[in-house]
Amino acid sequence: MVDEAADAIVAQDLSKIYKGAARGSTAVRALDGLSFRVQPGTVYALLGPNGAGKTTTMRILTTLSKPDRGQATIAGIDVLARPGRARSVIGAVSQHSGAVGRLTGEENLLMQGGLHGMSGRKLRRRVADLLDLFGLAEASKRQTRTYSGGMRRRLDVATVLVHRPAALFLDEPTTGLDPQARADLWSVLADLVAAGTTILVTTHYLEEADQHAAKIAIVDRGRMVAEGTADELKAGLRGDSIVLELDGPEGAERAEKVLVEVPEVTASSVNGSVVRARVADGRRALPAVLSGLEAVRLGVRSVTVARPSLDDVYLHHSGRSFRQAEGMSAA
C-alpha cells in the first residue's frame, strides 16, 4: 500500500529489468526494489554512478517508463494508474535539453503553457515572470539554439514550471555547467523550494547534494545503499579518513597498493593524485600508513586526517569510491 497523505513523492519497491535490445545481449537489472519518500517542499538527491538506476527512477516517476514491479505516487496521484493526471502536477527536465532550438525562449514557454491548457494574458504574465526569475528576459526573443549551456538549462527548468507543478524532477541539471552557472541555477531552485516546490534531483556533484539536499539517497546497482541527511550519513561512519596527496596519479596508485596492506586501513580510493583511506582512528593509524609509504620510498606531498566526506560514505556503502564507480561505468 502506498500512503497518499504526507509525502510529495513516494517510490515503493521499484524494479525494472531491461531486456537486451539486440539478440544475444543480456538483460540489465536497472532497478532492484528501490523505495524512498520525499517530503513536500524539500530537495531529495539521488546519488550514484552511471547505471545505478537514477535515470530509470526519474523516467518511471515522470511517466516515461513503467516498472516491472512497484508503485509510485506524486502528490497523492498514482503515477502508474493515472499517468495523465500525474503529468499535470510534475515538471520534468531530462539530461538532454528539451527546448526546441528554432523557437525563442519565450515561445518554448508559451507552447508548454498551451499544452497545459493555459492561454491568454494569464499565460503571458506567467511566462514573463518566469523569464525574469531565471534571468532570461533579455534573451527571451532569441532562438534557443543560440543559448549557452547554462542559459538553456535555466530555460529548461523555467519551461517545466509554467503550470506550477507540485514536484520537479531534474536529471543531472548541472552536468556540464561551469561553477557560476551551477550556483545560479541552485539559487533559483532554493527559492522554489522555499515557496513549497518539491524537487527530486540526480547529480554527479557530491558537494551539490551535500549543500542543497535535505535528504540524500545513495543508489548503487538499482538498490538504495544508504539514505539520510548529509550529516547523518557522515555521522553514520565511524572513524576518519586519511587523505594523502602525492606527486601524481601514478604515485597515488602505488600508494594505494601500499595502503591496502596496512592493517588499520579498512577501505581506500584514488582520485587523481589524491588517495583516501578509511581508518578507525586517524591519529593512531597515521604512523603505520606513513611508515608503509616510507618503506617503498614514496614521497607524500601532504597528509590530512579528515572527518568523513560524502565520498567516504559512498565508498563505505558501495565498496567503491564515487569517482571510481563513475570512471568504471564511463569506460
Partner: protein, 258 residues
C-alpha cells in the same frame, strides 16, 4: 476538444514557426522532383506516341505523377524529426506533459499537409510552364493537391511509427529508400500501366501510390470520372487513418522500450 487544442498549439506554436524560420526545407525537397520533371520529360517525350498510351503529351501525363512522388518522398522523411526530438529531449518534454498522443500525430499531419500543398502547387506550376495541360481546370488541380495530401499523410504515419519503433536514423533511411522508389515505379507515375507487363499492373492495383496517381491524374484530366476519384480518395483516407492510428499507438511501444 482538449486534444484538438493541443494539436493546434503544437502545429502553430512549433511546426509553422519552424517552417517560417527555415522555409528552405520546402525548396530543397523540390530540387529532385524538378530534375525528374525535366529529365524524364525530355527522356520519354516520345512515349506518348506509343499506341495504347492514351491521349495528351508526356509532360501532361508526368506532372501529376511527380506531384504524388514528391508527396511520398517528402513525407517518408518526417519520422526523422521524431528521431531528432528523441536525441535532444524534446520528445520527452512532450511526453511528460499532459499531451494526448493523438495530438502529437495530428500536429505532424497538419504540418505535412501544409508542406505538401505548397510543394504540389509549385510542381504543378513548373509542369504547366513545361507545357503540361490541365483540362480539369482549377477544380481538378485542387483535387489533385488534396489527393497528394492524403497519400503524404498515409506515408507520414508510416514514417513516424517506424521512427518511434526503431529509434534509428539509419533504419529509417534504409526503409524509406527501399520502399519509396519501388512503390513509385509500380504506380504508373512514369508510364501508363497499359504499357507495362500485366503482373506489374496487378501489383499496382494494391499500391496506395497507384491509387493516388490514378485519382490525381483522372481529376486533372478532362471530364473526370468523379466516382472513381472519390473511391480512390476514400481508400487513401482510410490508409491515412490506419497509419495515423499506428503512429499514435507507437508512442506506447516507444515508452515501453525506454
Amino acid at each position: 476538444m482538449k486534444a484538438t487544442r493541443q494539436a493546434w498549439v503544437i502545429f502553430t506554436g512549433r511546426y509553422l514557426r519552424e517552417l517560417y524560420r527555415q522555409p528552405t526545407v520546402i525548396f530543397i525537397a523540390l530540387l529532385q522532383p524538378i530534375i525528374w520533371l525535366l529529365l524524364f520529360g525530355a527522356l520519354f517525350k516520345g512515349v506518348s506516341r506509343i499506341p495504347g498510351f492514351g491521349s495528351g503529351s508526356y509532360i501532361t501525363y508526368l506532372t501529376p505523377g511527380v506531384v504524388i512522388m514528391t508527396a511520398i518522398f517528402g513525407s517518408s522523411w518526417t519520422g526523422m524529426s521524431y528521431i531528432e526530438d528523441m536525441g535532444n529531449g524534446v520528445l520527452d518534454r512532450f511526453l511528460t506533459a499532459p499531451v494526448s498522443r493523438g495530438a502529437l500525430t495530428a500536429a505532424m499531419f497538419a504540418y505535412q499537409a501544409v508542406t505538401t500543398i505548397v510543394q504540389s502547387a509549385i510542381i504543378i506550376g513548373i509542369g504547366w510552364a513545361l507545357g503540361a495541360d490541365f483540362p480539369g481546370g482549377l477544380t481538378g488541380l485542387v483535387v489533385l493537391i488534396g489527393i497528394s495530401v492524403l497519400i503524404a499523410m498515409a506515408m507520414a504515419g508510416l514514417s513516424n511509427g517506424f521512427a518511434l519503433l526503431t529509434k534509428q536514423r539509419e533504419a529509417l533511411i534504409g526503409a524509406s529508400t527501399t520502399l519509396v522508389l519501388p512503390l513509385t515505379f509500380l504506380s504508373g507515375a512514369f508510364l501508363s500501366l497499359r504499357l507495362v507487363p500485366s503482373w506489374i499492373a496487378d501489383v499496382a492495383r494494391f499500391n496506395p501510390v497507384h491509387w493516388a496517381e490514378n485519382a490525381g491524374r483522372i481529376a486533372a484530366a478532362a471530364s473526370p470520372a468523379w466516382g472513381t476519384v472519390g473511391s480512390y480518395a476514400g481508400f487513401l483516407a482510410t490508409a491515412a487513418a490506419v497509419t495515423a492510428w499506428a503512429a499514435t499507438r507507437a508512442f506506447r511501444t516507444y515508452q515501453r522500450s525506454m
